[in-house]
């Protein structure tokens, strides 16, 4: 049969097809520009109780030009990869930038990047294209069946998506990058019901690469179903303060939401970060080291080159409790007089690259989970994340999917999902133990209306005195 994306249009543009834009930039007084082109395909299957709710596929292509002059930025979007269309969109972006510059705070120079030409392709052990849609559907239906381990399981919902894309970017410094990306995401929700009480559980698997990711994720249904059944015996959390142990996925949510966003340099410059005046100062316990690493190939936030053409790198943000770095794009690095860190990422070509995390994690420690549980007299072992956020004051909230009560060093009753809140700078000083075990999770992060794929993780983390939103 035909493969799903054999019509994906390759982007035939090369560096020589785009360097006329550098002349246009000089003529129009544009100090910096980049053009980003993309062509890609996606496939989605959604199954409710093993029956297709929706199945779709589509292709998308387009490009955008971002221009900068005298403190003002402009972004315009086009569709056809033809010279006339690119010229026209460049002119629009140039006009928009000039308009912004009239009312901007002031000029700053964008520091040059290298003028190299790069190519990068995400490795697919089993290419998505080599597997027929029939085979993908067959496997999803098999996975769904695994959820029905008990008559109390009353409903299932699977969402599967995969996609491939080709991206090129070119900028005023004559830097040309071509990337081929591919990835897969699978999530599942299972509902269990007993005596009029219903509970649900949700799990998410995925990554960058090929079909091997789905093959590795086949136990998702069983895992989700077991959790849903367990929650039928769960009690609501009690309200108040508890010592909590966060599992690796929650530790990842914590460092991402409560800390990571405050270390993005655009927020620092805009006066919207609690870390603005904390560089080289002690902000956490000695055991706290936080890293953002775009080079982790098997993680969802892998960024070999960012959307401004900067090579992804490992950036240590907090070392032994001391704030040592921020994450940057070209603009913030230029404004702060430092090197860009490979963190300029955009949701799509219609969005400007913002300073975004890639794979952020809290470095593991030396303890075992059992040792940590023994330390807790009255607390919670919190498991799984649902979502979280942090406001610019450093007050954060994230939600656990479930928890276990810890009473006098022993794990006891299962507890329902609940919210955890704190103040970032205070909480970093209450982290008392970290486990040796460490895991990363795939996820999506939202900022200024843009959602991008990220990885986040860490060890089991013991924090004293956290406020839990119980009933």
């Amino acid at each position: 049969m035909k493969k799903q994306n054999d019509f994906m249009e390759n982007i035939r543009l090369d560096r020589n097809d785009l360097n006329f834009l550098r002349d246009m930039a000089i003529q129009q007084g544009i100090q910096y520009f980049n053009i980003r082109c993309t062509s890609g395909t996606t496939t989605l299957f959604s199954l409710l109780n093993g029956i297709s709710k929706s199945s779709s596929s589509g292709i998308g292509k387009g490009f955008s030009v971002q221009a900068y002059t005298n403190g003002g930025w402009g972004l315009a979007v086009g569709k056809e990869f033809k010279k006339a269309s690119i010229e026209s969109v460049f002119n629009k972006a140039s006009k928009l930038a000039k308009f912004s510059s009239k009312f901007s705070k002031g000029n700053y120079e964008i520091n040059p990047t290298s003028n190299s030409k790069f190519y990068h392709e995400i490795k697919q052990k089993i290419p998505l294209l080599s597997i027929s849609l029939d085979e993908k559907m067959r496997l999803l239906l098999e996975i769904e069946k695994d959820a029905h381990i008990d008559p109390k399981i009353v409903s299932t919902h699977i969402n599967y998506s995969d996609g491939e894309s080709e991206k090129i970017s070119y900028n005023i410094f004559d830097q040309f990058i071509r990337r081929k990306e591919s990835g897969l995401l699978l999530n599942m929700q299972v509902i269990a019901k007993q005596n009029g009480k219903q509970e649900g559980y949700f799990l998410n698997k995925g990554g960058l690469g090929g079909y091997e990711i789905l093959l590795k994720s086949q136990k998702i249904a069983l895992e989700t179903a077991k959790n849903a059944l367990e929650l039928l015996n769960a009690k609501p959390a009690k309200p108040g303060k508890f010592d909590i142990i966060m599992d690796p996925s929650l530790s990842g949510t914590f460092v991402h939401e409560a800390f990571g966003h405050a270390a993005e340099a655009d927020g620092v410059i805009a006066g919207e970060s609690i870390l603005a005046d904390k560089m080289n100062t002690k902000i956490g316990e000695d055991i706290v080291t936080i890293v953002d690493d775009g080079t982790l190939e098997d993680q969802f936030g892998f960024t070999p080159y960012d959307d401004e053409g900067i090579k992804g790198q490992k950036n240590v943000i907090v070392k032994d409790g001391i704030l040592v770095g921020f994450m940057h794009n070209l603009e913030t690095a230029s404004k702060m007089g430092v090197k860009p860190t490979g963190n300029a990422r955009a949701m799509n070509i219609s969005s400007s690259p913002l300073v975004r995390m890639t794979n952020m994690y809290l470095k593991p420690g030396n303890s075992t989970l059992d040792e940590m549980i023994e330390e807790v007299k009255n607390g919670l072992l919190c498991v799984g994340w649902t979502y979280g956020y942090c406001e610019i004051t450093g007050q954060f909230m994230f939600k656990m999917a479930k928890a276990y009560l810890i009473e006098n060093g022993e794990k006891t009753q299962v507890i329902k999902d609940a919210a955890i809140s704190g103040l970032t700078l205070s909480v970093l000083k209450r982290i008392s133990m970290l486990s040796k075990d460490y895991e990363m999770d795939p996820g999506h992060c939202g900022k200024e209306g843009q959602s991008i794929s990220v990885g986040s993780g860490g060890p089991y983390t013991l924090i004293k005195d956290m406020v839990i939103g119980g009933q």
Partner: protein, 458 residues
């Protein structure tokens, strides 16, 4: 394509003729639907109290649903209207349709309604013709915040204007199109306490008509929220009477109801309101109407995203849950007619279900009189959190809220969380104010809950 007028109904009518002619050649295709949307957007973002970026985009695309024997369905989309692109999405749609499972619950695509209510003030030509210089003039009051008593430490936000035109056709004869305009402003501000600790405030407004937008109001609300948030305090864990602001009513009470009455979630036992039809779920003072025909409101529309005529419905009447939201598929499964709540966020999206404009009942008391009657309680202004839609349990942060002491709003709260099951919250409604205000598409009052559990650090 570059010369194409993406808002021309005649173009899309002829495109549909071309597509349907191609589809009719395939005997395995029993039903089809073409949903097209075209839009243009201009936005300006500001940061540090100055304009930083301007953005412009025109876009257009189509989503094609094709349905074969026994409800097997495939959907494809493209932004390319060339002959080869159309052939490609038809080919891919047939492949996807064949791969899908049979769906015995599929009855039919939407059929044309007998009558479509005309709706007023959904398109504002003034928004359509806005240029960048005019937008700068419009948003100037935001920048006046820099002159306030306490100078903002940060001031950022975005203004956007957009025009969107949808065109819907299907093999049952649906042929509808509607052009709408939107304008939105949002502002986020922070002020610093003497000790350097920040307090943030935000506000936004979205309208269909430019003259309904009040930039001054958005600026003032964001400043006041940040000002009230200075010198936050922790509170003791316990049960408190709660006064919900209209913002909190919209996000804590009304939005969860609108999502929980989605018939798809109900049919798959994924909604906490699933077993509660025709049952009392709230205080008798609580009624809620979905009205798609109010002139000039955000979700005003004469038809839903399958082209079915919309109509006002009573969702909750005196505390009793009366109706769920349906699209043509879930209505077919339930053996009833759809009530016109099919939704789509984009031409590439699958059909979902959502609300139109939501009107909550009013009470008899001034909200300030309700406040005056609370000796010690919580003024709950906003949460960014959602409930667990399966159980109805809500555990979330009071992102902006204050203590109420002796009938007055006093100190702002830090690390205060609310935990309650939403059905309990609906039944805890004690008093509703007579004043109401629009928060996006919801018209909502102040509401006092008898009590709820608040977790605090003290």
């Amino acid at each position: 394509m570059d010369e194409l007028d993406i808002f021309d109904p005649n173009y899309f009518a002829s495109l549909y003729k071309k597509v349907s002619k191609k589809l009719d050649k395939f005997s395995e295709i029993k039903h089809y639907e073409m949903y097209c949307s075209s839009g243009k957007q201009t936005s300006i973002s500001y940061e540090e109290g100055f304009i930083k970026k301007a953005f412009n985009k025109d876009s257009s695309g189509l989503g094609l649903r094709i349905i074969g024997q026994k409800g097997k369905e495939g959907m494809t989309f493209t932004s390319d209207y060339s002959e080869s692109a159309i052939d490609r999405i038809i080919r891919d749609g047939r492949i996807i349709m064949r791969v899908s499972t049979e769906n015995p619950d599929f009855k039919n695509l939407a059929v044309p309604s007998k009558k479509y209510n005309s709706v007023e003030r959904i398109y504002d030509p003034e928004i359509d013709s806005l240029n960048l210089e005019e937008i700068k003039e419009i948003i100037n009051p935001i920048f006046d915040l820099k002159k306030r008593e306490i100078t903002p430490h940060s001031l950022s936000g975005n203004f956007s204007s957009s025009i969107n035109n949808v065109f819907i056709f299907n093999s049952n004869g649906i042929n509808q199109n509607e052009k709408k305009s939107y304008v939105n402003i949002n502002a986020e501000i922070s002020l610093l306490e003497n000790n350097g600790f920040p307090s943030s405030g935000f506000s936004w407004q979205s309208e269909s008509h430019l003259k309904d937008l009040s930039i001054e109001n958005v600026a003032e609300k964001s400043y006041q929220m940040a000002y009230r948030g200075l010198n936050k305090v922790s509170i003791e864990t316990g049960k408190y009477p709660i006064l919900l602001s209209p913002l909190a009513v919209a996000f804590f009470l009304i939005d969860p109801i609108s999502k929980a009455i989605n018939s798809e979630a109900v049919q798959h036992q994924m909604s906490f309101l699933g077993d509660h039809l025709n049952q009392e779920i709230a205080a008798t003072s609580f009624s809620l109407i979905d009205d798609p025909h109010i002139p000039g409101k955000l979700n005003t529309t004469s038809f839903d995203c399958e082209g079915v005529a919309t109509k006002p419905i009573k969702i909750i009447n005196k505390g009793v849950l009366n109706e769920y939201y349906y699209n043509s598929f879930t209505a077919g499964k339930a053996g009833i007619e759809t009530n016109g709540h099919a939704s789509r966020s984009h031409y590439a999206s699958n059909v979902g279900i959502s609300n139109h404009n939501l009107i909550m009942s009013e009470g008899k008391e001034d909200w300030e009189d309700i406040l005056a009657g609370i000796k010690k309680g919580i003024y709950f202004d906003y949460t960014g959190d959602s409930p667990n839609y399966i159980t109805g349990d809500f555990s979330g942060l009071i992102l902006t809220g204050c203590l109420i002491e002796d009938g007055e709003i006093t100190k702002s709260l830090s690390e205060a969380l609310i935990g309650i099951n939403l059905i309990d919250a609906f039944k805890q409604i004690e008093t509703i104010s007579k004043e109401r205000m629009w928060i996006d598409e919801a018209y909502v009052p102040w509401v006092k809950l008898n009590n709820a559990t608040i977790s605090g650090r003290k």
